[in-house]
């Protein structure tokens, strides 16, 4: 029995985690946007029938160098089209057909002199590294951490949700490189304290600890959501660190990309993602160039039958996709396909007031009370309940025995609360 925050989810990482990671760099075609950010002011730099090399910018910008996207393959531009991406919105994309003569340069580049903070930031900027945890360019995060202070840098390899195991796979294959990349990121963030947080069972944890040393590896407990376990992973330092120390999170894949950017001068143009779900014949972790379509990845993994639900991301927080014809872009670390009947719409019943939602809320909110006030249109009273502190982990909806979608209601309430604040500001201005 547990009295506290979080929920224990099912373990469905097998068999994907037990299989070797497939490297599928020989994709036929990639669909890459000119920019990931809707508000960015970019101009296309490649046009129809142009030949592009891997690492070539597809667009140019006078204001923001991170707004441009690098080509992930060497190939020819065969067209351009609009893609409505569930995570990024409407994107203007270039379609690039890969040329089979592409060479993969994996030769280390000699590094001369000390690698300082500026060198790390410059490498992250040049490689266009995007952190898979939040889809934000790594260089922006490093600068922000350095300016506002970072006490601890934690590489988040926890992955508590049921299916996702891409970070585990990356750690299994490139643990030493990830630690090196993490130490470089810590240098850029201005801290000397860093470690990898994981939630691995016995044998996996021991073999990883043997490779990278125990001081770089911290085990968390397996309660969802992961924010709290990461904080709890700092327990060994509790004597020397105040409880309000600033803990910054970085993705495991971003650490690896940083390592490669510095020692191999490689751009960040591929990602490892878990392909799983009961509609997938061979669930596994795959490494693919950015822009590879979901359709191609699913076809290579094999489908037992046509999926009825396709989820980009994990089962607790992922977004359902309406089509398979969408590219894999930074921030996607999991792809789930389910057959009909697996994900059932729940008919919500009246709240019985069990309080499980408040028990599991790691932000310490009262989800039932927020939902009640929102339902009763007491919008002016929502602010007192600190609705904005909700991060949408969905634990409250998961545990609700009445099937009430509290997470969605709170998201709506957050919108209503913001709208009221805006109105109040307008009134005050007037």
């Amino acid at each position: 029995m547990r009295i506290g925050k979080g929920v224990r989810l099912l373990f469905r990482k097998a068999p994907a985690i037990d299989r070797p990671t497939a490297e599928w760099t020989d994709v036929a075609q990639v669909v890459l946007p000119y920019t990931y950010f809707a508000e960015a002011d970019v101009r296309p730099a490649v046009f129809l029938y142009d030949t592009v090399r891997r690492g070539t910018p597809l667009s140019s910008s006078d204001t923001d160098s991170q707004a441009t996207v690098l080509s992930s393959v060497t190939g020819a531009v065969s067209g351009s089209r609009e893609v409505v991406h569930p995570l990024y919105g409407t994107l203007h994309c270039a379609v690039i057909d890969r040329l089979s003569t592409e060479a993969e340069p994996d030769v280390p580049v000699p590094v001369t002199g000390e690698i300082g903070r500026e060198e790390v930031c410059a490498a992250a900027e040049a490689a266009h590294i995007i952190d898979e945890l939040d889809g934000v360019p790594l260089v922006l995060k490093l600068r922000e951490w350095y300016e506002s202070g970072c006490d601890y840098l934690v590489a988040d390899g926890v992955q508590i949700q049921p299916y996702e195991s891409s970070a585990w796979a990356v750690l299994r294959d490139y643990a030493e490189q990830v630690v090196e990349g993490l130490s470089l990121a810590a240098r850029a963030a201005g801290t000397t304290r860093y470690h990898i947080a994981v939630c691995l069972s016995g044998q996996r944890r021991r073999s990883l600890a043997l490779r990278i040393g125990r001081r770089h590896l911290y085990q968390t407990d397996s309660y969802y959501p992961a924010e709290e376990p990461i904080r709890r992973s700092l327990r060994p330092h509790s004597r020397t660190v105040s409880p309000d120390a600033r803990v910054c999170r970085i993705g495991v894949q971003a650490c690896l990309a940083l390592y490669r950017a510095i020692y191999f001068h490689q751009s960040h143009d591929r990602c490892t993602l878990t392909v799983a779900g009961n509609a997938v014949r061979e669930p596994q972790n795959v490494t693919v160039p950015f822009g590879t379509t979901v359709q191609e990845v699913l076809a290579r993994c094999g489908l037992t039958e046509d999926p009825s639900h396709l989820i980009l991301g994990e089962i607790m927080t992922g977004t359902a996709a309406a089509t398979q014809d969408i590219p894999i872009l930074p921030g996607m670390t999991c792809l789930l396909a389910f057959t009909a009947g697996t994900i059932r719409a729940v008919q919500p019943r009246t709240c019985i007031g069990c309080g499980r939602c408040a028990e599991v809320c790691h932000a310490g909110l009262l989800p039932f009370e927020i939902a009640r006030r929102f339902r009763n249109m007491h919008y002016e009273r929502l602010g007192a309940l600190e609705v904005s502190a909700c991060d949408g982990c969905g634990a409250c909806s998961y545990v609700c025995p009445c099937g009430i979608d509290l997470a969605a209601t709170i998201a709506e309430a957050r919108g209503a609360d913001s709208a009221i604040l805006l109105e109040l500001e307008e009134d005050i201005d007037a």
């Binding site: 999926p307 927080t317 359902a320 019943r349 069990c354 009262l366």
Partner: protein, 327 residues
Amino acid sequence: MLRASVAPHLREPRHPFYQTGGVLLCLLPLTGFSCMYYGIRPLLLVLFGLLGAMFTELLCCMAAHRRPTLSDGTAAVTGALIGAMMSPLTPLWVPVIGAMFAIGVTKMPFGGIGRNIFNPAAAGMAFCAICFATRLFEYPDPSQSEGLPLWDTTGVITAVSPMQQLAGGGVPKLDLVTLLSGDFPGPIGSAGILILVASALFLFVRRSSSPYILVSYLVTCAVIAALFPRMDIGIGMSVQLELCTGLLLFCGVFLLSDPVTAPRFWLARIVYGVMAGILVMVLRHYGRFVCSEFFAVLLVNSFSAVLDRTCWSLLRRFRHWKEVVRV
């Protein structure tokens, strides 16, 4: 064809009957234990209460042109709890009346499951206590070897319960073994102390009830019993008698922890338990009825929502204040 769905796409596979089923499961051995002393009559009382509540809920749903909500099991639990709080000598129609009042007045007019302010079982029992006090607080002697007659109980030998002795200024001669074995006059649900403790643990593990409420409630009762014993019987004996007799433990396990009427926030639950403990002990000292725990439950029910909001905002303010001080 891909279908849309909203995160989280996974839900904990749990039906509301999971909550209520656990309570019903706990009431089975409790009633069975009482049947060992009094024959089949306690089981009939529980069964009559259960059927009365279900029937009333069905009638209310039909009157309101709503789909019957019997499958969630709350009506069954309400009726069974009312039956289990009765004396084994109570006429069989009394739990039916109590259950009808509980469902027809306390639960359904407020909108049914999840919307009632007061615990229906406590309300039903309070109604019966007010209307049929003489029939409710007469307890048979468990040492009588033969079971109670099913219908006519006029000739049955009654005994003074430890609660009545304490209220009347007497000192019950009960040791710990007798208290734990339930071999003393009292309501159906109060006999099996060990079963009640096991039930509480079972409900905690299933997350059907909160340990915060029960623990704070029992600690408060124990502290008051130790500080203000009703007779000069020593602190240990006073605590033992107060906690193990009457409906104190039963109400803590089943009525106070009712998720609908109890607060949801942990701190509010602790305060709620403390308030209930104080009220129960005050009513035991100065109340008119021998068993008056359900009145205390009804009184604290009305503070649930306020406690939730107040405790939550107080705790938030305290944390903000701590952060400000630290900075």
